[in-house]
Amino acid sequence: MTSGTGRIVPDRTVRNRTKIALGRRDPVSSALLDVLGLTKSFDGVVALADGRFRLEAGTVHALCGGNGAGKSTFLSIVMGIQPRDSGTIAVAGKPVAFTHPSQALAAGIAIIEQELSPVLDLTVAENIFLGREPVAAFGRIDFAAMRRDAERLLRQLGFAIDPGAVMRTLSIGQMQLVEIAKALSHDAQIIIMDEPTSALGETEVGQLYAAVKRLRDAGKGIVYVSHRLTEILELADHYTVFRDGRYVSSGRVAEIDRAGLIGMIVGRALSEEYVKTNVPGEAIRLAVDGLSLPGTLSDISFTVRAGEIVGFYGLLGAGRTELMECLFGLQRGWTGRMTVDSVPVRAASPRAAMDAGLALVTEDRKQSGLVLTSSVRENLSLAMLPALSPRGVMDRKREAGAAVEAIRRFGIRTATDRLAVGSLSGGNQQKVVIGRFDMTTPKVFLFDEPTFFFYVWAKSEIYSIMSEFASKGGAVVMVSGEAEEILGMCDRIVVMRQGRVAAILERGQADQQTMLHLAA
């Protein structure tokens, strides 16, 4: 990070005068960013064959594409993280070749990464100005000035965050907003946002949208990368689609619809996003009555029937994940009753929960789902170890057989089951986790944000797995923060708010508006 870079905030520090603002010299005629014929190969494998992108000032331009489309490679070349093989990049009409992200930043390109990197024990203001704190006499950090500047910046952006708050006390969504503010504090003309809403709740998403629109109106160019098509359709002015490392097409968002966009991204028409074949039966498989967890959940009651998919909708912090953890024996100290097929269950550990016929695909597959250092096979057999190892010794033949069967059944795309699970794509990783628990032949399958971060077709695969499980008489619980997929998949919807059940809606009587209203 260079200290020569200024920020939006018109503060009193001298540095501002040295700022480089390339985009301003040539306001309308040429594009802010113009990339042509960008190529890049790794070990002979082409990652980017023809990268094209043209960003105009005062627009929001969505960069779309599935996994392996070449978006990441494209962005990392533009930011100077990697060298290109060929192609041209022009910023404000001038060819550039950055060799380090700091040069890109100095030339007025800022990126907001999807991964958070806050210093948790510093304040919001200290995080925003980390490494370029305003200095007073004798090298002392001018905390008062820093705080004032941060406050002004946050107010301009419309983020309701106290600059003096310690980072650790903020919600994940608020932290993300601070990171965004930090990136915007550099006076960049081009702002790249890589999945900026991935960690945001609905309120924060609203604040972010407002900020993006304000930046656009101020004449900045925004490159917006998101897997959420709804966001793109709502926010972006232009789109550019990459597929298999190639530029496919670009145009105005106003002239295209959702299906058309999906068609371009996937390369074929997607018949149906939500694969739903299950029909709810009569028998109650899972019944929860008056479940409470001190300080988090109170008096939660619901039922799930055989063949039914029940969705849990709510904002971050509504207690949905904690509820799943209670059911699966990962949380202790809850009160209330729970039955599976009318048999009382009181799971003290995940092992006991599995024995009672429950399975849980946890929220974050990298954090709590997969053993990334182990192979696909070892990950698949993890929940089945006792059955696969009579008297403690692994039955390696049976294990291999079970793994191959799961790979076939769920269509996990991997060369062999001995491959490190970390080398698989996100959707296939998720199928490994689902396959692992499917081996335990559960009666009730709990899914916590099962499609988080997936593109539409990867989502469809997960949906069809859920749907198939339910149509064979299983009960499915699906936790999600995306109203659309809940509406698309679920037979009934439990809306949670602050650890309580706000309402239980039938399919057909629910819509996005009602759900949001109940949840907030």
Partner: protein, 335 residues
């Protein structure tokens, strides 16, 4: 976006192949390279007698390092093994001495009883460490650092700070005898290695160890009792430290209060050089065995050539840092 870790062109591709090669065969290559060089410069190095020497000299560190491998695979560390070995050694010898210095009435007892007592002391120490780590969630570094000090103190208290001399021939047999020409300590190492290799590769417990170290949360949500696994690895480490202490006492012919000082460092070095990751979940005892052999060959080779022992420390240090650099390079690849 994970662009920061994607390689930069062909040069990186070559490096990646090298990293992959080093990950699989690096330790073996390094070991044989060292052996070839030493056999070229010393006429004695490749003699049967000397090879037996190296193996015998490696046996104690090898046993400690194998126990350490289990602990490190679960993201833990056991700093107490040297002190626990000393404690187990002094307690075991107090049951196997003909002198009255230790004050155990009725001593000497049969060697098997003395060995059993020594192993129990090791297991108990490991159990205390493991219990505190799992029950009170104190970091293993701190718990075993405490145990390092406690076990040394107990060793000094026991038998009033004097070494225990005059052990029965049966007890010394563990350290001095040969079976079909192979010294017993080498056989002990071979058996410990074989069992550990089998346990890690072929049993449920082995899988649980790798899963616990690779991702404790995933292991928990897959029904693995992570606390139990952690407790068991400290028991294994403690028990093997006890065994090493018995071997050490039998070989030196007395229970020593100053035995095993800083042996934990050589054990950790063997594990790390052997490619087991300090972040858990990756590695195994085969690498550790070669790591211990490299350290043993280096000590032996330098003694053979009459080189200042300080060179060996430098070389060992370079190997440790090199091994960890390799591990980080590999981690960079994985993301």
């Amino acid at each position: 976006m994970s662009a920061g870790s994607i390689g930069t062109g062909r040069r990186m591709a070559g490096a990646r192949v090298a990293v992959e090669y080093m990950k699989r065969y690096g330790i073996v290559t390094a070991f044989f390279a060292l052996c070839i060089v030493l056999s070229l410069v010393s006429d004695y190095f490749l003699s049967v007698g000397n090879i037996v020497n190296v193996l015998r000299q490696t046996s104690i560190n090898g046993v400690l390092a194998i126990g350490m491998t289990f602990v490190i695979l679960t993201r833990g560390i056991d700093l107490s093994v040297g002190s626990v070995a000393a404690l187990a050694g002094i307690v075991a010898t107090s049951f196997a001495t003909r002198s009255t210095i230790a004050g155990i009435p009725g001593a000497p007892y049969p060697a098997l009883l003395a060995i059993a007592v020594g192993l129990l002391v090791g297991l108990a120490s490991g159990g205390v460490s493991g219990g505190i780590v799992t029950r009170f969630r104190v970091p293993p570094f701190v718990v075993t650092l405490g145990m390092l000090s406690i076990a040394r103190g107990l060793t000094l208290l026991y038998a009033g700070g004097r070494p225990i001399p005059d052990l029965t021939p049966q007890f010394r047999w563990i350290g001095t005898s040969e079976v079909f020409g192979v010294p017993l300590p080498i056989l002990v190492l071979a058996v410990v290695f074989a069992v550990a290799w089998w346990v890690l590769g072929y049993t449920r417990f082995g899988r649980q160890v790798y899963a616990t170290g690779g991702n404790p949360r995933a292991a928990t949500s897959s029904g693995i009792n992570v606390s139990r696994v952690r407790l068991l690895v400290y028991l294994i480490s403690g028990g093997l430290a006890g065994l090493a202490g018995i071997m050490l006492a039998a070989r030196t012919g007395s229970g020593l209060t100053q035995a095993g000082i800083s042996y934990e460092l050589d054990a950790i070095a063997a594990v790390v050089i052997g490619g087991t990751s300090l972040s858990g979940g990756v590695g195994g005892v085969t690498g550790t065995l070669f790591g211990a052999l490299i350290i043993g060959v280096m000590n032996n080779g330098l003694d053979l050539l009459g080189v200042d022992s300080n060179y060996q420390q430098i070389f060992k240090g370079l190997m440790i840092v090199g091994a960890v650099m390799l591990d980080s390079a590999r981690r960079g690849e994985a993301h």
